[in-house]
Symmetry: C2
Subunit: 102 residues, 2 copies
DNA sequence: CAGTATCCGTATCGATACTG
DNA sequence: CAGTATCGATACGGATACTG
């Protein structure tokens, strides 16, 4: 999704509107910290290029935090407080989707 | 935004993820019924082609309802119950955006 | 007034191969 | 393992002119 200028929902849609992002956040919500490879395994179909882009966005938005383990190339991603605050919204969206699905 | 296959949030993001849609829904939320021209006036910058596409989507998703006045080309759009149920989510997104805006 | 038709630039995303 | 580079398809949306 292209960066939107949509008033007060701007930030939220800039984060949630991209393809894969909701799944990613759902996954993050259930794990304290995840690695790149784990995400690829869990979110089937996403390719590294796209995943990398999403993680970059989310980190820049302050929704997730990247922690690189010292002396390794290993790193982990986890939700920030800002990211955790997104979970209830995601849940509400899921509820809505299930309630009104045809 | 391209149609996504994102599990349980699918429907919600398919509706909310498009450019302009949040503003449109906000506008609908405050008016019992609106005409095409009013929307164009209110949502500055949207062009008829795009507005038409959004309205088509939203109607097809059952989020809004189109009512054509008999014997005229005039018509009005208003939220359905399904559409009204989206408002709290939109509000939550706005709150989140305002809370964490840099 | 309420759209539709056409054209076109750009953003987005997938596939795939490659790197430190 | 954790990405980046490159290429290409296509979806999205803006501008504009036109129609019933």
């Amino acid at each position: 999704m292209q960066k939107q200028t949509i008033g007060c929902v701007k930030a939220a849609t800039a984060v949630l509107g991209d393809k894969w992002t909701p799944q990613l956040l759902r996954f993050f919500a259930n794990e304290p910290a995840v690695r790149f490879g784990s995400i690829q395994d869990f979110v089937e179909g996403i390719n590294p290029r796209t995943l990398s882009a999403r993680l970059g966005n989310l980190e820049q938005e302050g929704v997730i935090q990247k922690i690189t383990k010292p002396n390794t190339t290993r790193c982990e991603y986890c939700l920030t407080e800002k990211g955790k605050a997104l979970i209830p919204i995601l849940t509400a969206m899921e509820t809505w989707s299930r309630t009104y699905e045809s």
